[in-house]
């Protein structure tokens, strides 16, 4: 912190290129990260890593808060548009820390001046679709957390993934499988020229077991078991991991001989993990307020920056009446893992009411202003905006029996043969290597395929569905919710914001941890179909272990 403060003082007082503007805002963030990760397959370890790094990111602005060098993308300056970063010494050597900060600041300042000049030039020939400031105000804030726990021995993590991956030696039907885990301990240091500073702990631990089988018709079926924690102990202490992996294996075996769903339009009940994944995959990205930069590109080059479709729906109904959504970064216990004391711009954590009684009230923001939202909601995580803990609540919750009854009522109204209950959804972050040239395990819509779903008949009996793909799931789907259960599922996942720096080298473990709390949800109508794509042929030879 001393090196950052010393260099910040010098930069603010002295850094200026002749007649050009001096910086009006400078921040340094240093992520001092110790991490380890390992993987195993069929009871044997794959490569592991254990690494420490200190990465500095400089954010430097010239101009003023109403118009500065940011929110601008020039194709002619594309190589200068990336954030300025530097790898810092691992030791607290103030001379060398300051040297690297000095060099990175100089680079950032020159980039900022060039970007501002190019942005001003671009504004002489085009106008922005909306006139917004480039930096919203924030009160200076100081925050300090004491050093937190350390990493476990790597051998401990290796032992668990080895054991869990070895369970597949009892599952002849599983053709691809693996287990991986990663643990991170991070101290994040921040100072800015407005007087804010913080030191924050960002611990995270993760375990993921994946398995894949193939049905007789060639359909590739996969599933996963994932666990998160703020420390490795929180994962290793879970007693049911073996049982969950075995249950996944049994479900895959059952799905092999089940029939895939044919075209279906009708009511769908999402239970437990499926409801949470649905909200994480479909609603969470629509709750963040991202801003499209002004783009300076030649007229013959089209350069579209994707926008959140909910950005223009502030004040509009986006969910059924009675439903509300809140993001609460203050929650840091009782299983909530997405919380923090202060965000990456030193804005204190808070609770943001996003949807009230079905109406969209605001979006999650950083200090980069968006239309209709004043100030930051304290959701800067890495380079972009991300949720923390997302809670979906319903004014009226039903018991499980009542939910089933509601589903059956909808079935009856349609005079349909059956309804559908989905208990698990896939997640693109959890997949073994594609089997035998297969590309069919992905989804063609914003929502991953259902991996555990049942037809439910009026007499109450359930029939397993091999797989189901969603079709035409649009922005208005949440208005189709007709009922919610009285008990929510708390679920955590990796949420990848743009430019996340949470890379571990372990596939599937990146992004920010986001927890979602979601009740079971009953939708009046959704379209399901058999997963599309070419089906790979089964392997020519049998699995060597089971064949012999």
């Amino acid at each position: 912190m001393r090196a950052m403060r010393d260099e910040l003082s010098r930069t603010v007082a002295e850094l200026r290129m002749e007649e050009l503007e001096a910086p009006y805002f400078v921040s340094y963030i240093v992520r001092d990260t110790e991490r380890m990760g390992t993987q195993a397959s069929f009871g044997a370890l794959l490569p592991s890593l254990a690494r420490r790094s200190r990465m500095l990111t400089v954010e430097l602005r010239v101009g003023d808060s109403s118009f500065d060098n940011t929110n601008f993308l020039s194709l002619s300056l594309i190589d200068r548009s990336s954030p300025t970063t530097a790898l810092l010494p691992l030791e607290d050597d103030i001379v060398e820390l300051r040297r690297q900060i000095w060099l990175a600041t100089d680079t950032a300042y020159k980039k900022a001046l060039e970007s501002l000049a190019a942005k001003r030039a671009a504004f002489t020939s085009q106008t922005a679709s909306e006139q917004l400031d480039d930096l919203s105000p924030a009160e200076p804030h100081i925050y300090l957390e004491e050093p937190d726990r350390r990493l476990p021995p790597l051998s401990e993590v290796q032992a668990l993934v080895r054991r869990l991956s070895g369970l597949f030696s009892e599952m002849p039907h599983v053709v691809e499988s693996g287990a991986r885990a990663a643990v991170r301990h991070r101290r994040t240091y921040y100072v800015n020229s407005e007087g804010s500073s913080f030191i924050r702990n960002d611990p995270a631990a993760y375990l993921n077991v994946v398995a894949q089988t193939q049905a007789p018709d060639g359909s590739v079926l996969s599933d996963f078991v994932a666990a998160f924690g703020a420390s490795w102990d929180e994962i290793a202490g879970q007693e049911d991991l073996t049982g969950r992996v075995n249950a996944m294996g049994q479900a895959l075996a059952a799905r092999q001989s089940a029939a895939a769903i044919e075209d279906y339009i009708g009511p769908v009940l999402f239970e437990g993990q499926a409801a949470a994944e649905l909200i994480a995959q479909l609603l969470a990205p629509r709750m963040v307020g991202t801003r499209a930069p002004l783009v300076d590109a030649p007229p013959n080059i089209s350069f579209n920056v994707p926008e959140n479709p909910f950005r223009n729906k502030l004040g509009a109904r986006v969910m059924a009446r009675g439903f509300s959504v809140t993001d609460d970064a203050r929650l840091r216990s009782d299983g909530f893992l997405g919380g923090y004391g202060v965000d990456d711009e030193a804005v204190p954590a808070g609770a943001t009411s996003l949807v009230e009684n079905g109406v969209l009230k605001t979006l999650l923001t950083t200090r980069n202003p968006i239309r209709g939202v004043n100030g930051s909601t304290g959701n800067r995580r890495g380079r972009g905006v991300a949720p923390s803990n997302l809670l979906l609540t319903s004014r009226r919750g039903l018991s499980r029996d009542e939910m089933i009854a509601e589903l059956m009522l909808l079935v009856e109204e349609r005079q349909a043969e059956f309804g559908v209950i989905i208990r698990r959804l896939g997640n693109s972050g959890y997949r073994p290597a594609p089997a035998s040239g297969s590309n069919v395990s992905g989804s063609k819509s914003d929502v991953e395929n259902a991996t555990l779903a049942y037809k439910v008949y009026p007499d109450g009996h359930e029939e397993l569905i091999q797989a189901a793909e969603f079709s035409a799931v649009g922005d208005s789907v949440f208005k189709e919710i007709v009922a919610a259960s009285d008990s929510p599922t708390l679920y955590t996942l990796n949420y990848p914001p743009p430019g996340s720096d949470f890379q571990t080298g372990i596939p599937g473990f990146w992004g920010n941890l986001v927890s979602v709390s979601v009740p079971d949800l009953l939708f009046d109508e959704m379209i399901l179909r058999k997963p599309s794509g070419n089906l790979p042929l089964p392997p020519v030879a049998g699995h060597p272990f089971f064949e012999e």
Binding site: T11, D93, F545
Partner: protein, 569 residues
């Protein structure tokens, strides 16, 4: 393809390097990895035998890397990591030796033709069941890909014109069974952390040096290889590398980097602290001098390429063009395809590639190996004999007139094997002394009426294009260049790249001296990065061409350095 900044300076190791592959060979059956690979390969060939289009060849190669890396900047440690990984490469072929699924599809761009492969991680533990599970799934995947591709190849052959080269796609080869001992990784992490800090501490005294770093790498690479010809190999190689690099900036914005690189087959072969520190001091002096050095304008005229520069020169303009597979592709320039038996260099020059040589003089060679990535025993290949072009570097991909591999099929794990360079060695039968070579340069300057000649002392690396679409040229990136005046005086200059076209430039090599230097590095091309060496004397070229170097437009840092070590805080 390029030959990046991983070169070795001339130095004499205090201790002779010891042979790496000591120890008693083990029986192939006793090696769990080799046995698992053999068992699964045999089982696969038997299972696929009943398919309509069975494979006619299958090989597995597992490459294990155990390594340690320590890096520091300006005297402070920036990273220290240990690594252990194993990757699998599968070569499965359907069709026959004449025509198989690996044949290049015409009109397919090089990137797509070569970038399909990807490394597959396999367990780092000797667990036969786990290893075989990966081998099984990967074999199936490669078989299905091979079938698809073979269908396309068969169509391509029919709808396109005949290729100029009529050779088949694969050459028969003998089987080898060798199991070498696996050497230990010999690196004391705490010692090397201290050493890289120590080597970079002097840079901190100079505010105008904006980067000063060192990196130590220790690596033991072990390869297990089996194929359906009956080969079963386990071979290992060690590499210990130390890099020091620093960078300053001239007032006009030009980046001025310098590198030191040392390579040895064992840690004792690396230089001692005093040697490195002296080299660092010399490097700092050169960096500071370069900031004040005048720029050179584009120029043609005589020049000396000192040892390392001449090694890279031959690597780029000759070496890449004698890689056999380039004579097969209709998109390659095939510069030397019709030059067999023709004179390319003066009679006193011979050039050979020798992967069986682990040392040149007292210097260890990075491009040595016992077996290539197709399981073929390494062989010395004379490419130019007394100035006459004789041979190509061959993998198991034959070309007209060169039917067999000579042990130069190489790749980085995850890439498809092609013919690549190993240890390039240039020999001059009647070398001049250094003084005689300098005198020849001055004589040439005067004869040509030039105001000066050039001497290239250090280079960073280079690259060359060998295709037909882009001009068939090379670019060698010098770091330290001197103007040599007719009176014999020299002046350090900056700002030029050495460029040219291969046939013209080779024809202008006129003499070499007796001071051979070795350049050890990693050569990057379509089959990935492979370790190579180039040993060459300084050479006189009667006419070279230099062009202006691309330079940064950024000014040096605006503020002075924040703090010097001796400053009061």
């Amino acid at each position: 393809m390029n030959f990046p900044a991983t070169h070795a300076r001339r130095w004499t190791p205090a201790v002779l390097a010891v042979l790496v592959f000591a120890g008693f060979p083990l029986k192939a059956q006793e090696d769990v990895v080799l046995q698992a690979m053999r068992t699964e390969l045999d089982r696969s060939m038997e299972a696929f035998r009943h398919e309509e289009v069975p494979p006619y060849f299958l090989s597995y190669e597992i490459t294990e890397t155990r390594g340690f890396i320590a890096a520091a900047k300006f005297g402070a440690l920036t990273s220290s990591d240990e690594g252990h990984m194993r990757t699998l490469d599968v070569d499965l072929r359907v069709g026959d030796y004449e025509l198989d699924n690996t044949r290049r599809l015409r009109d397919q761009r090089v990137f797509f033709a070569t970038a399909a492969a990807e490394p597959v991680q396999v367990p780092v533990e000797d667990d036969a069941n786990a290893l075989r599970a990966v081998l099984w799934s990967q074999t199936d995947r490669h078989y299905k890909r091979a079938l698809e591709r073979f269908t396309r190849v068969e169509t391509d052959v029919q709808v396109k014109v005949e290729t100029a080269d009529k050779a088949g796609d694969f050459s028969p080869a003998p089987a080898f069974t060798v199991v070498e001992a696996i050497p230990r990784l010999e690196a004391d992490p705490s010692q090397w952390r201290r050493r890289v800090e120590r080597y970079t501490t002097p840079f901190a005294d100079y505010g105008e040096i904006y980067d000063g770093r060192a990196r130590f790498e220790a690596e033991v690479e072990t390869r297990w290889f089996v194929n359906s010809d009956g080969s079963a190999l386990r071979s290992s190689r060690t590499a210990y590398r130390l890099f020091v690099s620093a960078r300053t900036k001239a007032d006009d914005g030009m980046e001025l980097p310098l590198n030191l690189s040392y390579f040895a087959l064992n840690p004792a072969g690396l230089p001692d602290d005093e040697t490195v520190e002296n080299d660092v001091s010399e490097m700092i002096a050169t960096l500071l001098a370069l900031r004040e050095a005048p720029l050179v304008e584009p120029y043609t005229g005589p020049a000396i390429l000192a040892g390392e520069a001449s090694g890279v020169f031959f690597h780029e303009i000759l070496g890449h063009r004698v890689e056999g597979h380039r004579q097969k592709s209709e998109e390659e320039g095939q510069t030397f395809r019709k030059q067999v038996g023709e004179r390319l260099l003066p009679e006193s020059f011979s050039v050979y590639f020798d992967p069986t040589a682990w040392h040149y003089g007292n210097t260890d060679l990075a491009g040595a190996y016992r077996f290539d990535n197709e399981g073929i025993e390494a062989q010395r290949v004379t490419v130019i004999e007394n100035g006459i072009f004789r041979n190509f570097l061959m993998s198991r991909s034959p070309i007209d007139g060169f039917a067999s591999s000579n042990g130069h099929g190489r790749r980085e794990p995850g890439h498809r094997t092609v013919s690549r360079q190993s240890n390039l060695i240039v020999e001059v039968a009647q070398p001049l002394s250094r003084q005689e070579l300098n005198a020849r340069l001055i004589a040439d300057i005067e004869k040509e009426g030039k105001p000066f000649g050039l001497r290239f002392e250090q280079i960073r690396g280079g690259f060359t294009t060998t295709g037909r679409i882009m001009p068939n040229s090379f670019n060698v990136t010098p770091l330290v260049v001197y103007r040599v005046y007719p009176d014999g005086s020299e002046e350090l200059v900056r700002g030029v790249d050495l460029i040219g076209t291969p046939l013209t430039t080779l024809s202008r090599v006129v003499a070499g001296d007796d001071q051979v230097a070795v350049f050890n590095g990693i050569c990057g091309a379509e089959s990935g990065g492979v370790p190579v060496s180039a040993a060459s004397p300084s050479i006189l070229v009667s006419q070279i061409e230099v062009q202006k170097k691309a330079k940064s437009q950024d000014r040096p840092p605006l503020l002075p350095p924040p703090l010097q070590p001796d400053d009061p805080e």
